[in-house]
């Protein structure tokens, strides 16, 4: 169950801080996504619509436009793989294959234990150490299939899923 009051409180706080009243939606969605870990339950999105007094359809259209928002729960570690040319020409293809194989999932899927979600990302701006992945807020560069396997092992050892 979504704690509607907690969500409403978050939105009210944002309203207090903002200079302009109309541009709070994306900011609110970021904060609510952080609040729930890494996704936005549909019910919470409804509360946002009520609090900001905008139609639910508008919240939905914004929520589904941006790739960083998700309406489905995601893993504890979101692995974002750069799938752009600088990473591609320096061996990114094997990195993607290794990740899929090691995790046993495809893009936009979450492992059964709830630990990992695999996503594509556009350029992370670390082309100097390509190929690159981003795990939550951390970057890993100069990757090889071997390094990728080690990173996954370390993360597995580090934490149980929620």
């Amino acid at each position: 169950m979504v704690d509607r009051e907690a969500v409403a409180e978050l939105v009210r706080n944002i309203k207090k801080q903002a200079l302009e009243e109309r541009d709070m939606l994306i900011n609110a969605l970021h904060q609510i996504q952080n609040h729930f870990g890494n996704y936005i339950p549909v019910e919470a999105a409804k509360v946002v619509a009520e609090e900001l007094e905008v139609p639910e359809s508008k919240v939905y259209e914004v929520l589904t436009f941006y790739t960083m928002f998700s309406t489905k729960p995601r893993g504890k570690y979101i692995i974002r793989v750069c799938v752009n040319l600088p990473c591609h020409v320096t061996g990114g293809r094997q990195i993607v294959e290794t990740l899929k194989k090691t995790l046993g999932i495809d893009f936009d899927q979450t492992t059964k234990d709830g630990l990992f979600t695999l996503e594509r990302t556009s350029c992370l701006g670390l082309c100097g150490v390509a190929p690159v992945i981003m795990v939550n807020d951390e970057y890993y560069g100069d990757l090889t299939p071997k390094k990728v396997k080690e990173i996954i092992e370390n993360l597995r050892a580090r934490g149980d899923a929620r």
Partner: protein, 599 residues
């Protein structure tokens, strides 16, 4: 502050952090404390020094010794040897391909010595989290000069005369943009910094935001004064958490020091800046889409005109410039338009930051005068190919740009010359490719990106790029026809002419430019069903050289689909109908017996 005997500048750019900067810094701190040097040795974490392929890196002053490829163990040794005994640690110095070591690499290495730094003048030299270090390097002096000695019109005029052009890609004259916004009617105006850097292979804006955030704030305030705005927005990608953090710190400090806020430096001018964070949409780098996103909507572009100078954020006149453009503004105000014009070419004055990526030895960021040739940039500064194979082409301008073949490397790099070659300056990403890269595959790669990132508002971009991708898929899987090549060209030109925004209008460029220079590669795929670079899986077969194979069975054991058969100590063979061309066998073979062929 106590006197120090040594200052260590350690690069804390994103690339060095990803290769272990944090643990190196911690080892330094521990060791320095252990020997009681923490009073006299200062460690400063700077922004990106640019030499990403050498990271983690640091420079120890006053000697200016440059250490590369650091580890925590190396840090311990450097403290014991260099700081305690004054002996340079040889094994972490920069080595030339000739074997010669260069301790003062920052001054002597061509990679550094050939650069002229304007936009990145402070990046890598100061602590981005400390406003006083920025001030010590003339920081906020330009704002002071503008407010005290210049009228808003004079500021606009100075930028106009400098000839500064937008560094985000299109190269629109910045001064003209400011003038139009200044003259536009409206009681509220806005300054927006486009920090939604998304072009694959470009990371200069990230480096400025992380390494010198105050320069962006100062330039935005100058722009605000010039056009008559009181509010600024910085729109940053959510993929750049470190940049967001450093900007937040910088804004708080600038407010505390009175460089932002009410009555800046006791003038009548007030200006505030807020950060807006994107949420993963490449199209938001397009200015009208970015404005929509700032307003909390889907980031979709709209028809221009009206341009943002007339109707931008909340329908008010708005100046939008990208990070690198803003970073050039304070030096122009301090040193004057003539100084800026004396660097670069008449039509493209100043410098440009390029991001070198792909198969090049010195990957990283370099700032060079406009008009430098591609050859100087890629070979003298970039150090040439990193794979030992010949460089085949360089891709400039990301998904909006084109591929430039090696025959054209004497071309000077400026807006017009690159455009003539069918490429664009773009945001300055340069992706180097060698003979192992298939140009059809590269073109397909960029189109996949555009198809993914098209916002879907206009039909040519949404449907047209999808059709082009389908044709490219057909070609790379060996089913293409000659008519397909003509169709690609026809479709590409239609999409260019009819798309709503810059994303669609430039999306066909990677295909059109490779068709122009590498038509023979497309034809090989189509007519001979052959991929000359051995990249396209459907057109490649794996074979075992019977004279080299010793029958060790390593390949057969690693093959995930059991496509390899053969007895121990006898020559093996690959069943190409079963083979999925994953390449595992090539990696595991110690005798170089397995290779790819294309008929």
């Amino acid at each position: 502050m106590p006197l120090t005997t040594s200052t260590i500048l350690i690069c804390a750019g994103g690339a060095c952090i990803s290769s272990g900067e944090t643990s190196v810094k911690e080892a330094l701190q521990r060791e320095i404390k252990k020997y009681g040097l923490d009073e006299v040795v200062r460690i400063v974490e700077t922004g990106c020094m640019g030499a990403c392929s050498l990271g983690p890196i640091m420079v120890i002053y006053p000697e200016g010794v440059f250490y590369q490829k650091l580890t925590p163990q190396a840090a311990v040794k450097i403290v014991q040897e260099h700081l305690l005994k004054g002996r340079i640690v040889q094994e972490h110095l920069y080595k030339m391909p000739t074997g010669e070591v260069i301790p003062e690499a920052m001054d002597k290495l061509p990679f550094f010595a050939k650069q002229v730094k304007i936009a990145t003048r402070n990046v890598g030299y100061i602590d981005p989290g400390n406003i006083e270090e920025y001030i010590a390097r003339d920081g906020y002096f330009a704002l002071t000069k503008a407010l005290r000695e210049m009228t808003p019109d004079q500021v606009v005029e100075e930028i106009k005369r400098s000839g500064l052009r937008g560094r985000g890609g299109a190269g629109f004259p910045t001064g003209l943009k400011w003038e139009l916004t200044r003259k536009a009617k409206g009681d509220r105006k806005y300054v927006v910094c486009n920090a939604d850097e998304g072009d694959p292979g470009a990371f200069m804006d990230r480096s400025v935001l992380e390494g010198d955030p105050h320069t962006v704030l100062e330039a935005m305030a100058i722009a605000g004064y010039a056009i008559g705005a009181q509010q600024g927005y910085i729109y940053v990608r959510a993929e750049y958490p470190l940049a967001i953090e450093r900007l937040e710190t910088a804004i708080a400090q600038a407010k505390e020091y009175g460089f932002l806020g009410q009555n800046i430096l006791d003038s009548d001018f007030s200006f505030d800046i807020e950060i807006r964070i994107g949420a993963g949409a490449f199209v938001c780098g397009e200015e009208t889409a970015l404005i929509a996103s700032i307003e909390g909507k889907r980031g979709q572009p709209r028809v221009k005109p009206p341009y943002p100078a007339q109707s931008g954020v909340w329908g008010c006149p708005t100046v939008i410039n990208n990070v690198e453009t803003f970073a050039c503004v304070p030096p122009i105000i301090i040193k004057g338009a003539e100084w800026f014009r004396s660097i670069g070419t008449p039509n493209s004055p100043g410098t440009k930051v390029f991001a070198l990526a792909g198969k090049i030895t010195n990957t990283g960021l370099v700032e060079v005068p406009m008009g430098i040739t591609l050859r100087e940039l890629l070979y003298e500064i970039g150090g040439g190919s990193s794979t030992g194979k010949k460089i085949k082409a360089v891709q400039t301008g990301g998904p909006s740009g084109g591929c430039i073949p090696a025959e054209y490397f004497e071309t000077p790099v400026d807006y017009e010359s690159l455009q003539k070659l069918g490429a664009i300056m773009g945001s300055g990403g340069m992706i180097v490719m060698d003979e192992d890269d298939c140009m059809v595959d590269v073109a397909k790669f960029f189109l996949e990106f555009t198809v993914d990132e098209s916002c879907g508002k206009c039909t040519p971009c949404r449907e047209g790029t999808r059709q082009m991708l389908k044709i490219l898929d057909k070609i790379t899987s060996g089913e293409g026809t000659e008519e397909d090549l003509e169709e690609l060209e026809r479709l590409g030109n239609i999409i260019k002419d009819t798309s709503l925004c810059g994303l669609g209008q430039t999306a066909p460029n990677p295909v059109l430019s490779t068709l122009r220079y590498y038509r023979h590669e497309y034809e090989a795929h189509v007519k001979e069903k052959r991929c000359p670079a051995l990249r396209c899986k459907a057109l490649v077969r794996y074979v075992i050289d019977s004279s080299k194979c010793v029958g060790c069975t390593a390949c057969a054991r690693v093959c995930p689909v059991n496509a390899i058969s053969g007895e121990l100590r006898k020559v093996h063979s690959i069943d190409n109908d079963v083979c999925i061309r994953c390449g595992s066998c090539i990696e595991v073979c110690r005798f170089g017996a397995i290779s790819k062929v294309s008929p």
